[in-house]
Structures are given as structure tokens and as C-alpha cells.
Symmetry: C2
Subunit: 412 residues, 2 copies
């Protein structure tokens, strides 16, 4: 029996109902407290660069800055996070101030002459790594959109829209000159971009024309559930042939369970907004089968990478347990359980809850570890780095809190 | 006390001498047998592509081919290995046949219109990944040079020389259009190229003018020992500023102990050929201090990556124990011990021998594992992949066998 017991119903119907409501309220409180008493204060205290603006994200276990470079992904995601919380949780002026320092730093230093977003900058804002990575643009658009929504800042809104259009223009060849693939020999489509787009377009929804938005969402669902998701295998593949068939190569066999699970909740989110229970059901199937495939039966937790055919994956970090994978899975399972009521979702939620809350939070210095080894031991004692910033953990805490609050209301 | 007891001298001088000679002979036999009875037959049996020529290198634990793509690094290294053994160990026609299938495949399919070497090809030889990586060219030049030496093949000799000149022409900007660094903000020099050049130039020695060879070797030693090696820290840094100073960034703090140790034996090799005991002594210092820094005091073995300042490294595989790191260290320590007689080298050799022979070989299916986790458990049950081929292990077995044979002769 899991800690939360959400998937374990016994006793009389009325007792069960009342126990469940209590448990769900306790869960909502647990997520709320972790968000506002632990994770947000950690970043507010340690990450602000008072000299140049923007954020330090390379924070060791205690919050000490061990590297001052600024990575567009993480700058943008932190702007997004504090703007989103301001928009959706509480009009807290300190949160808006946090968002503003990053938004101002990004719009001043983040783009090259063509409006493409650099991958990284020095602390002072000098460009270090070229705009080779279209996800920098995706996260910048999300950031500017949420920040414009919070502030009514017209410049931020314009930057979001220009960046969004630029992403659509670049999407057929997102790597441009940096692509190392010889054209023609083995054409592959990557899952990462359609996946992010299906989240980005919802973020941009408030400034898009409804018919354009609808058409784009149709395309996203078609790509994710129709092409990259293989319903027979129950898995989302990271790379497919243009016709959706599988390719027997390292890329073609690659499964990234965290990606698949994240995409599953993006699909549920779209299904919920559109009132499409069929999409929610299919996304829940994808979530559950990906979890079964990606779960480490020996040590618990979800693997980072697997080969669909069971061959050795190319990624040396394949067996590690990463914060974002588990954070996304908490979001996906709580949402799937709330939307479908399927028992299996509750049982999986319990298992994930126990593993995630038992391994990632650092009770001594606050916030959550990012990288555990296969056994669940801390692999890198950092709270932030080049890839982990103020994003997945607080976003998951916020979503789970909301989902459990809504469930509690329905049960009450 | 280590298994081989090479670093542990006790008893009378004569007894000790005779015991040592026996141990050294046993070591030479152990390396010879592993090379000719285990590792070479594994690749001869499993890696040959009888349809298209060249080699399959993605071999699982049993030798089964799990992916058929052909990576230029590994094709070239296997050509080099069998040619080199033919040239230096035994005129075995089967070894020359093995080299020829790869050499023919590479010269037919390996280059683009400018003579740059693709990074990877399909089994049939169609290009997959562009020539973004200058080390493909380095290993192709080494392969063609050894193969030409073995066969007198004029075309192979010409390809080796053209490729070598092309590498020198590209060395200031080896990544070309694929470089993601914004010029000017933080100029860095990478260690990998000067390191490989210091080995490549010795491989090419037989076809270079002696004064050109001498000048190039001077430059290599100056780069490796004068710029990248920091004698105060006792470490070779992977990236330095153009003036040799350290840069406080992820790249600037990065230590790759296996790289440093490999470079140390390249330097000893140059020192031995040039009769330069000063260079040998400095390279031995570098070897020993890098080993002390890179050794995992808790679980044994040498870490893959470390941060010079003790910060979390960016590389998630930082704590893994890799075949090539340990193979290079066996070469370096045996050579350092043979050339300097320093007790510390013998003691370290014993420790490395025990760890490496105790963890990497697979007694059941033959050959050696490539990737162990921090605890020394098998992380990926493969014998070959995208990066591990028929190269580091047999090269180390050959060098160590030779070194111990020469030591035994001197002792006898």
C-alpha cells in the first residue's frame, strides 16, 4: 500500500469517500507548502543576480553559485514560472519582480540580429553559444507571453509573437547550419519539437486567433498521438520516419519515458480544454504503458533512456533517475486520475509519490536534487545547473496542488 | 599488496630480482594470451561485414550485432589495429585481410567531395553524419598510414598524407560551420586535438621529412606539457585560454583523467624516441598526479570526468568507469615503470591491474565490458557500440605485453 493510499480503496463507501477527501486535501497542502515554503524561497534567496539582472542557476546543494553563465532555457523558464504563478496563483509583487529581472535581462541580451535566441550568455549578457537550439526560442516565447500577460507589457508581447512565428518558420529545419545529418540518407522526424509546440501553443493561446489556434492544436495532436505514439507498443518514439514508421537505428529505437509522459499530460490538457474525453483516454493509455515500460523494477524510479528493442542505449546516463522525469509523471498521474478516475492511475500515483518524495527533496538545505543514480543515491549534489533550474519542480508542485484542490472540491 | 606485487619489493636483492622477473614474464604472457586468444578472435568472429565490407562494431555481450551503422572512428581504428599488429607483432595474413576489408570500405565510402571524412555511414556505405568531427580524419589518417606501411599500397599512403595535411589546415577551426561558439566572447583552446596530433604525427613519421617531424613534435610537447598541463595542480585541463591561463567555466574547469593519462604516455613515447629523460620524468609526474586526482577512493577505478574545483561536473556520466580510461592507464603505468623505475609507478600499476582485470573482462563470452557504473557493476552489457570498438583494449594488451617483455629481457 502506497503512502497516500490514493489507489487503495477499502471499507464502506461513505468512509472511503471521506478518507479519500482528507487524503486529497493533505496532498494539496503538501504540494502547496513545498512550493511556497521551500522551493520558491530557495530560488528567490540564491538565484538573483543583483549586478546584471537575470538569474544564476548553477547552485550547489546549499544554494552557493558555482558558475555564473546564463542559459536561455533556464532564464526563460524562470521568467515563465514566476509570471505564471503571478497570473494563476496569487498577485504577489515579489513574484512579478522576480520575473521582471529575467525578462529584462533576456530582452536586452538574449537575441542575435535575426531575433534568434542565443543558447547561453555570460553573467553580463555577452553571447557565448549561438542560437543553434530552437528550444531556447520556445522557452523565450513562453516566458515573454506569460510576462506580457502579467504586466500588459507590449514589447514583451511583441517579442513573444515574433519569436513564435520565427519558430514556425524554422520548424522544418530547426538546426539550420548546425545540423550534422546528411540529407536524404535516413530522414527522421524528432519528437521534441512537436511535443514542445503542443505546450507552447496553449501558452500563446491568448494572443492567437481562435481558428489558427484550433488548427495548430489539431496538428499537434495528430503529430503526437497519430505519428510518434505507437499504440501497439504503447510507446512514444523520439524519432520516426516521415511516414511514421520505425527506423532500426540508435535514434529510431530511442525511448525517453519522461518525454512521453510529459507529452501525455500536454495531450490531456488539450483534451480537457477541448472537452475531448477520447483524447484524454488515449493519452492516459500512453502514460500508463510508458510508465510500465520505463519503471525500474529493481530499484524503483523511471529510467532516463531506453532502447525499444532492449539493446544497450547510446546514452550513458540511461539508468539515472532525473528530477524532471519524476516531476512530469506526478503531474501526469494526478491529472489522469482526476480526469478519468481509473484505479490504475491512483495506484501508479501512490508508487510515484512514494519514490519521488522519498528521494528527491533535500530536507537539510531545501529544494530538490536533480540527478540520482539508478539506486536513487544523489549523483550530483546540485540544486541547479545547465539544465535544472527553477521550472519543473515548482511547475509540478503547482499543477499537482491545483489538481488535488479541484478533486477535493468535487469530493466535498 | 597488489595481485602482481610489482610495486612491493621484499626479501634479498637476488631473490627479489628473480621473483620480479618471473612476475614480469607472467604479466607479458597474460597480456599476450588476452590479445591473441580472447580479444582479437572476438572481433574476427563477430565484426566482419561479409556483404559490404568494413566492420560491425555494435556487438552485444555475446557478439551479436545489434546495430549495423558504421562509425568512421571505429572503422579506422580497427584498420589501424590489425595493420599495426601485422607490422609490429606478426606477419599474420588473417590480420592483414581484416585490415583490408575496413581500408577498402573506408576509401570507397568514407570521404565527401573535399576529402573530409564523414562521421558515420550506413552498413552499405551511404553517408549519415557529416564530417563535423576532425577526429574522424585523424583516425582515418592513422589507419591509412599503418595499412600503407603493411601493404605498400600507394593509394592508401596518398590518402593518409592528404588527410594529414587537411587536418593541419583545419586545426585552427576544426569544427567549421558546426562550431556553436560565438567568436570572441570566451576564446578557448581544446586539448583533444593537440593530444591526438602528438600520437598521429608519430604514426605518420615514416612518411614525413625528419625536420618537419621534429618541428611538429616540438609543437606537440610545447602544447601538451607547456600549455595544457598545469604543473602546480599536476593536472591536464581539457580547455584553456589561448595564453594557457585557466577559465572559470564548465569547460575551463573540466578534467578528463583518462585523456590526461593517455597524453602522458604519448609524451613518454616521444621522450623515449628522442632520448629525453626530462620529458619522461615530467610526463610521469603528470601521470601520477592525475591518477591521484582521478582515482575513486571509495569504490576504486578512475572517474570519467571531474571538475578541477570540486564543483558538480556537467557530464552525467562523470562517475562511470570506462574501458579506455583504464586501458590507457595500464599502458601509461607499465611504460612509466619501465622507463623510470619509480616505485610509485609499480604500486599504482598493481592497484590498476587488480581493478581493471578484476572488473572489465567477461570470462563467459570473451572480450571486455566497456561501461561500468561507479561501483564497478556492468552499466551497459555491450562489447562494442558507437564509441567502443576494436582499439583501446587490444592496443593496451599489445603495449603492455611489449613493455613487460622488454623489462623481462633487461632483468634476465
Amino acid at each position: 500500500m502506497g503512502k497516500t493510499g490514493m489507489g487503495n480503496h477499502s471499507g464502506s463507501s461513505r468512509d472511503r469517500e471521506s478518507m479519500m477527501t482528507g487524503k486529497i486535501r493533505a496532498l494539496a497542502d503538501q504540494y502547496r507548502s513545498a512550493l511556497v515554503d521551500d522551493v520558491l524561497p530557495f530560488w528567490q534567496k540564491h538565484s538573483v543576480d543583483r549586478e546584471y539582472g537575470g538569474y544564476f542557476t548553477c547552485l550547489d546543494r546549499t544554494g552557493r553559485v558555482y558558475d555564473t553563465d546564463k542559459f536561455t532555457w533556464l532564464q526563460a523558464r524562470q521568467v515563465w514560472l514566476f509570471s505564471m504563478l503571478y497570473n494563476r496563483m496569487e498577485k504577489n509583487p515579489a513574484w512579478l519582480d522576480m520575473a521582471r529581472t529575467g525578462a529584462d535581462f533576456l530582452r536586452t541580451h538574449g537575441r542575435d540580429g535575426d531575433g534568434n535566441w542565443y543558447f547561453s550568455l555570460t553573467a553580463a549578457g555577452d553571447p557565448l553559444i549561438q542560437p543553434y537550439n530552437i528550444f531556447s526560442d520556445c522557452f523565450a516565447a513562453m516566458a515573454m507571453s506569460q510576462f506580457a500577460l502579467a504586466t500588459g507589457d507590449d514589447e514583451a508581447r511583441a517579442i513573444a509573437l515574433t519569436t513564435y512565428r520565427n519558430i514556425l518558420a524554422r520548424r522544418k529545419n530547426p538546426k539550420g547550419q548546425y545540423s550534422k545529418t546528411v540529407p536524404g540518407t535516413r530522414p527522421l522526424r524528432s519528437f521534441a519539437l512537436p511535443m514542445i509546440l503542443s505546450n507552447l501553443v496553449l501558452e500563446m493561446a491568448w494572443m492567437l486567433d481562435p481558428p489558427v489556434l484550433d488548427e495548430t492544436l489539431d496538428g499537434c495532436v495528430r503529430d503526437v498521438m497519430g505519428l510518434f505514439y505507437d499504440p501497439e507498443r504503447g510507446l512514444i518514439f523520439e524519432h520516426i520516419a516521415p511516414d511514421g514508421s520505425h527506423v532500426d537505428s540508435f535514434e529510431g529505437r530511442l525511448i525517453n519515458p519522461g518525454h512521453g509522459i510529459e507529452a501525455a499530460w500536454f495531450m490531456m490538457d488539450i483534451g480537457r480544454r477541448r472537452g475531448d474525453p477520447g483524447l484524454i483516454a488515449r493519452a492516459t493509455d500512453a502514460l500508463l504503458s510508458t510508465l510500465s515500460f520505463g519503471w525500474d523494477g529493481e530499484h524503483g524510479g523511471i529510467f532516463y533512456f531506453l532502447d525499444a528493442e532492449g539493446n544497450p542505449p547510446d546514452q550513458l546516463a540511461w539508468d539515472q533517475k532525473l528530477w524532471w522525469v519524476h516531476a512530469e509523471t506526478l503531474i501526469a498521474l494526478s491529472l489522469a486520475y482526476a480526469l478519468t478516475g481509473r484505479e490504475e492511475c491512483g495506484q501508479w500515483y501512490d508508487r510515484l509519490h512514494e519514490y519521488t518524495w522519498g528521494h528527491f527533496p533535500d530536507p537539510e538545505y531545501g529544494e530538490w536534487y536533480g540527478y540520482l543514480n539508478r539506486r536513487g543515491e544523489v549523483l550530483l549534489p546540485l540544486k541547479g545547473g545547465k539544465w535544472k533550474g527553477c521550472f519543473h519542480i515548482p511547475r509540478a508542485l503547482f499543477h499537482c496542488m491545483n489538481t488535488f484542490n479541484e478533486m477535493a472540491k468535487r469530493h466535498a
